[in-house]
Symmetry: C2
Amino acid sequence: MSDEESIKTRLKLRPVAIDTYRENVAYLHRECSVYRAEGFQALAKIRVGCNGKQIEAVLNVVDDVCIVAPDELGLSEQAFQRFGEPAGQLVNVAQAEPPLSMDGVRRKIGGERLDYGDYQAITSDIAKGRYSKMEMAAFLVATGQNGLDRDEVLSLTRAMLETGVRLSWNEPLVADKHCIGGIPGNRTSLLIVPIVAAHGMLIPKTSSRAITSPAGTADTMEVLARTDLAPESLDRLVRMERGCLAWGGTTRLAPVDDMLISVERPLGIDSQGQMVASILSKKLAAGATHLLLDIPVGPTAKVRQMRDAMSLRKLFEYVGDRVGLHLEAVITDGAQPVGRGIGPVLEVRDVMQVLENDPEAPVDLREKSLRLAGRILEFDPDVRGGFGYSIARDILESGRALAKMHRIIDAQGRQERRLEPGRLVFEVRAERAGVVVGIDNFFLAQTARLAGAPMSRGAGVDLLNKLGDTVEEGQPLYRVYAEFPANFEFAREFTRTRSGYNIGDAAFLTKTHMEF
Amino acid sequence: MSDEESIKTRLKLRPVAIDTYRENVAYLHRECSVYRAEGFQALAKIRVGCNGKQIEAVLNVVDDVCIVAPDELGLSEQAFQRFGEPAGQLVNVAQAEPPLSMDGVRRKIGGERLDYGDYQAITSDIAKGRYSKMEMAAFLVATGQNGLDRDEVLSLTRAMLETGVRLSWNEPLVADKHCIGGIPGNRTSLLIVPIVAAHGMLIPKTSSRAITSPAGTADTMEVLARTDLAPESLDRLVRMERGCLAWGGTTRLAPVDDMLISVERPLGIDSQGQMVASILSKKLAAGATHLLLDIPVGPTAKVRQMRDAMSLRKLFEYVGDRVGLHLEAVITDGAQPVGRGIGPVLEVRDVMQVLENDPEAPVDLREKSLRLAGRILEFDPDVRGGFGYSIARDILESGRALAKMHRIIDAQGRQERRLEPGRLVFEVRAERAGVVVGIDNFFLAQTARLAGAPMSRGAGVDLLNKLGDTVEEGQPLYRVYAEFPANFEFAREFTRTRSGYNIGDAAFLTKTHMEF
């Protein structure tokens, strides 16, 4: 290659003030010699390099010199930051080869088992941003459903763990809890963390945002405090307060998980093997030594049958044991939403009522949180088996849990703006008189999502009746809150012909056995 | 919703001179009231509407008023065109809901069979641009491999057929041919079409571009003539010349197929059921009544075993019979590339040599084309069984095929620039003396792709020896042509340790039975 040729392919780097979130985008002018010569196609992936650094980006072709000139290579905001070279720097541009590890994905599509090396290569390429959204979708679908056997789940867990920072707390007991989800309003973490931390046990909880639910723990906590903490501040905070309620994403713990979730979420897919790998790698990365898992079972929960809950528990135990995590899984009642509020602001109201020992506080949220917190407290060798619950209750009733919560909120950065439920409200009423014998978790979650949750913090559903309640015809069953007219209309339309409540005879009230 | 609120959400439409190819992109300024209020996330899909029209687009957030101002909504070039409203038009913006038919895709991922209604909903949403690349990838992977049973393939074929324009030629016999691919240099269509058209039989051939090969028929034909013809010009041309060699994409025949291919291509996935649906829907949309299918079999072909070729033939026949297509499938020798050249310009050279009755013309390309053309001519009720081959040979040897080819080229729009093989050349030599007993189709295709084919028209591989040839140590086996230094280096590096040729004893020369 002559010098002349190699110079011809050099372009001046320029930041383009377009935010393309996680996707790196490069902008080339249509008259740019490199674009013409290489015959790139718009949306092709190109490799931009200089000084030994390189970044891959999706190509957008520009016809406006105000954005990029023919001798320039533009990078979207985040890509420019990631690349870390100054504007005007000369860069080389070439067609990017698809990541080599896609070969493993194709073999998985073909029905093969992949080994640890394959998963390592895939997660490492994903972490380096070499996978397009399309390629991540292919990986997720190929490993979805029953695509992974338990040793593959173990390999994927280990591989995901390796891609991020791994925190170490240098303490023998680092507790964590996790719920596999599916139950709206199930905000026990916001109660368990202050209770356990007030006891003095370390519980540095990191959470994802909602995937398919109307609110994740991080979404709800953000109503009260910042959750995107840098690793250093997280470390300082946890050592001081013994607990936190942070978002796992920006702390660089198992970043691949967040990237996959950003594809899973819009696709609305969810797989058992991926879920186990995602949860356990995240918990291990956060430095947990002891984990309590909440697996709710119910007719409209994520897990519908006791036998499925058991097989999921076994899978968690199989992988947990092999990655050195003390793991206990409890199967809980997932027959209806927990508490009253569904959606960030409404859930925060429930949580604060429990912490404040308000007589109006939802009993089920309080009881479930105390039982789970009690189980975690029993990880402490000094707590006698069976005594965890009463210790947890003492911490809550004495106000120590509330005080701890306020300390955590302040340490993370209290939200200055007090958010209120959305001001657009309507009620859904009982079509007939009788006893509430069924509540559809999925329907209510969907209503809350259509109303705007979790993005719209004040949106959601507030339940006025729960299972077993006797209602009159026309009595309000729940209220829906929205912040924006479009969301309000979506939710109203959705609930026009159905309420998600089944009203009948008390004899039909089903009981789920809770294992505690 | 008050009038004031509805006005607040209106933005002025503005074209943004960025080419994002098939993906609609919308640009909102970060300070835009709608963006702030709705809490959109970058890369979320939004719905832009006015005057009853609407379009969905991926959101990019802009921090530069030169691109869009806070009261504007920018659309990328193609999206602006598709939307078809003037700049300055007031538009509404809302969060887009994921397409409803994704529910079917999720059920498919879960292992369910889908019915015709499901496939119809999916292809219709894809045709309307409601699927993101991610969602298309999920669909492709979920239906990939053995994901489709034969009735599902039939449903998908019918559903894809419905999404585009369907041509009707008002003639009882409209012939077409198709090769399932995998054999480099297999450019028989460029010979069959002029032969069959010169006979007077209608053969309006539309082709895709290369998916994973170094050249598709359309890529190669583009060296000679334009292939992107509007439906009206295509119609006029075919009625005049009795044949064409056009690209199927822009003629709006089964557009979903092209959209899926644009995802399949970078992912490098390929599935039997999708292939059958893709080919048959395309052929039916092009108005074919009679189809000859070429299924090459060989150790490094797409189909490696005769039993697989037979099961593929049965699947084609099953679906073909039910959609009213007279279909004959021939299983051909796919042991090595056909002809000498691999890559658009080199393949054109081979084709023109055959048409010009050049004594240097590759015999295998000539023979295969004559045999296939002969089989198509026998679709004509006036041609006696077994006489097709000699009619085809007469047409070729008399120069009528060449004359017809030139008429087709002129009618489609002759390329003014005569393209030459790339000027960067290297040779790959035999490591030992012996007989060529194996040629790896995949390896040579990959070499041609690395050299830049098909995007770089003059790039490719020129075979100097074929199966059965005796070679000396150090004798050149093939030449690699590239147009750009980076491609040249990629291809040279790739062939440094392997040649893709197996040189041994003539006794090991395997024979594949050709069924004709």
